[in-house]
Amino acid sequence: MKIPVPGQCSRFTMEESSPSTNFNGQIGPSAGGGINSGTKQADDAGQRLQYSIPGILHFIQHEWARFEMERSQWEVDRAELQARIAFLQGERKGQEKLKDDLVRRIKMLEYALKQERAKFHKLKYGTDLVQGDMRPPTFEEGGPEVTADAEQPFSSVSNFTWKQGRQMLRQYLQEIGYTDTILDVRSNRVRTLLGLNNNEETGSVNGNEPGSNKRASSEGQGGGRRTPAKKPPLNQGGSTGPSSFQEAMLMDTEAAVLANFEFLQAAHAAAGDEVGDEMDDDDDLQDDVDDVHEQTIRDTYKKNPNSLMALGLGLGDHDDVDAEAEEVLNELNILTQTEAAGNVPQGESQNWSGSVYPSGDESVKRETEPVDTSLGLGELAQLTVNNEAEAAYDLPSTKESLRKTWTAKYTLRSHFDGVRALAFHPVEPVLITASEDHTLKLWNLQKTVPAKKSTSLDVEPLYTFRGHSGQVLCLSMNSVEDEAFSAGTDGVINCWNLPSVNIDPYDSFESTVLRSRLLGHTDAVWGLAQDGFHQQILSCSADGTLKVWSPSTKTEALHTYMSEQDGIPTSCDYALYAMDKMVAAFTSGHSVLFDLETGKPVTRLESSQDIIGNEIGRHIYRIKSHPLLAVTVTAHEDRHIRFFDNNTGKMIHSMVAHLDAVTSLSVDPHGLYLLSGSHDCSIRLWNFDSKTCVQEITAHRKKFDESILDVAFHPTKPFIASAGADGLAKVFV
């Protein structure tokens, strides 16, 4: 029994290649002490007659001093273990909070999913889907796992509560003597558990190590034995980031375990002594010593039966210390957790023992399943876990903005006749409308008139642009400067300088507002487009031509394009993905992609094969380019919206989008959504990818057989707008 101890210690040293010569040195003397005393005893046995009272007293005193020292070491060990218990409890609290956050996130997502389903169902079958509880989740119940000792009731999803909880945890840990660095360690561990490779955090792990050393040394001072033993493995572990941090923890525990081994060795040595002594001598003093000894062992059992049991195991099998140490570690964890209140899911202990990600994920999944078993939330849980806890709080808000429904907020009434076109200011909440009453009006959505019904606000126009002698049909706003272009049945393109958005509506007349007039078209101009890149505009007219203008330099057209075989252009747009191309729709029902430089058609986008009805049926009301993709979208009289690939000219998708002719299109600046307006009085919002309708809004009334004449997205703000033949424009938020 005695001989393997030093050998084992040195083997440990070799294996771990840690500078634990100290360790060896530490154990050596005391173990050696045991051996020495054993030898001495053997000698004594051999020379029984030479016993003397002073000799015995000296021996007893010596032994007593040794036991005292060991007892103080045990005290230190106990303090250490208590600290660990506190640490683990703190960790558990943190985990619980995290879990609650995750559960809340899941509920949010679940609610969003339900809403989407209801919406989808409504769109598909026209009836409301009955699916039970459609209330937004209230977060008061805090999930089934909340324990009685949760100090902070979760009443709302706010960063504030979360932060507060965190602060409390911090305070708590500070109270029991843990420094902030430990907290960092903890959060880092949470991250590692969640499978995040956050390199930034490596620094803080390394940073923690002086703290733990400080702790170790301050606590180890009483014993002095443990301090050097602990330090080296920690240093080694700390130097290689999060994964080796766990290793460090392991080593730490191993060191503790080995220290206990040492004690047991000593105990056995002492026991050996005892046996020898009892056989040879019935001295009371000796008995006392034994009593002390046994008392110590019993105390230890009382304090930490499991670990001691593990130690017993470890003693039985000296060859596999590492594996044993790990087992001890597990035992320790279980012990702590059972002490800590018991209902912590198994996942945590698994995490602790180093089987990191999958089990952690599983535990999250297990926790979420009671929330709603009808949903396969595995993926959702995954999704949630992959986000950092803090970032999670930004996510619901962005989700909200995506899934929100648009509601009419502003009604723009001041036109005497149908509003043919509208355009938003690139930045401000300002828009211009162009009407068949020959005027354009400028509106500032921040200057509203309180209306009787509080749901919708009336806006009064800021400025009326008078310059056309006929109906104004199209409008385009410069994305860089404050200028707008409009054209109509008079065939003139007017360039306007926008007045200040804070102008007094009844200010005096400034003739400079109408900057220039571009003459060249001989018939109604139906389409204007701008690419916002070259300071050029594109126009298409019922005279059969398309023209490109550079309004800032000259009033004559730079280029004229036409397509004899296709007839009159009905709508045009720059192909936004490529600076040198434009698309135009013609009365033939086809669209043509032109090269702006050469003026030659590049690709024809033909859709004749599936067009129902006659020439009127295939009439294209509007053509729009996707802002990022080489995709062109066309709106047709036959209720279809069609999508074309600009490179091949092939139709990608065709869908019946409305109950009547589709008159207007707008693609949002990110290219994710498509807005369409129709003579069926409704506007519809489409997901560009899935081509599914996200929302339908009935917006305008009919005048003759026309209803909605234009729709638009605000380039930077969450506004959409529709213009109607009823003389109104509406803005939705």
């Binding site: 005497f416 003739s511 007839g567 294209i620 005048k703």
Partner: protein, 223 residues
């Protein structure tokens, strides 16, 4: 582009429509108009058919509510007056016409401001039209286009009085523009006759002489 698709006529201005074909669809009988904008549609349809046929334009269909009829006509007048304002913008400068006058008798103060102001003629014109547009589109006074409260109908008189001054200024200071505009639209004549028919202004204020009188009714209004 006014082709019938099968048997139904779709009255639409499709993109690409020639200017002279704009609104160029076959008439729709008033009885068949089921829109809330039926009166406006009917008035515009009559004007497009023959702008000089004032008598027909001002004759309401049977059973038409008079308040709505007057309201829709006034809307149409204000809308068409934009055309006159556009022309005046080119010639009537604040430097030359510093005040809104017709004859030397009156200087009209612009009522668009908190305290009535001596605006230059062009500003008066613009402000008056803008103010009229706001009033006539006001959700407070005219929330509906199919029925109008009597209290709101009384507002029409003051709008008429102010708007008429635009005609008078154009006639006395920019006669060429007035004549050109009148030849195309017969607007002043129609307006005078409208005012007289519904007695919206005192006849003494109708100072623009309507020459080339075709009906005895408008002859009287010259006074």
């Amino acid at each position: 582009m006014k082709m019938a698709d099968g048997s139904t006529i779709l009255r639409r201005n499709r993109p690409g429509t020639k200017a002279k074909m704009f609104n160029g669809w076959p008439d729709e009988p008033f009885e068949e108009m089921d829109s809330t904008l039926a009166v406006q549609q009917y008035i515009q349809q009559q004007i497009r058919k023959e702008p000089s046929n004032i008598e027909v334009i001002l004759t309401p269909p049977d059973g038409q509510d008079e308040g709505v009829w007057k309201y829709e006509h006034l809307r149409q007048f204000c809308m068409e007056l934009n055309g006159l304002a556009v022309r005046l913008q080119g010639e009537c400068h604040p430097e030359t016409c510093t005040q809104m006058t017709a004859t030397e008798q009156w200087i009209f103060l612009c009522a668009a401001h908190k305290t009535p102001k001596e605006c230059p003629a062009i500003d008066y014109t613009r402000h008056t039209l803008d103010g009229a547009a706001c009033l006539l589109n006001s959700n407070k006074y005219f929330p509906s286009r199919v029925s109008i409260r009597d209290s709101s109908v009384t507002k029409l008189g003051s709008v008429c009085r102010r708007v008429y001054r635009i005609f008078s200024h154009a006639y006395f200071h920019h006669l060429n523009i007035f004549d050109e505009f009148e030849k195309e639209t017969y607007l002043c004549r129609r307006f005078t006759q409208f005012i007289t028919k519904y007695n919206l202004m005192s006849r003494d204020n109708l100072i623009v002489p309507i020459i080339d009188v075709e009906t005895p009714g408008s002859g009287e209004s010259e006074a």
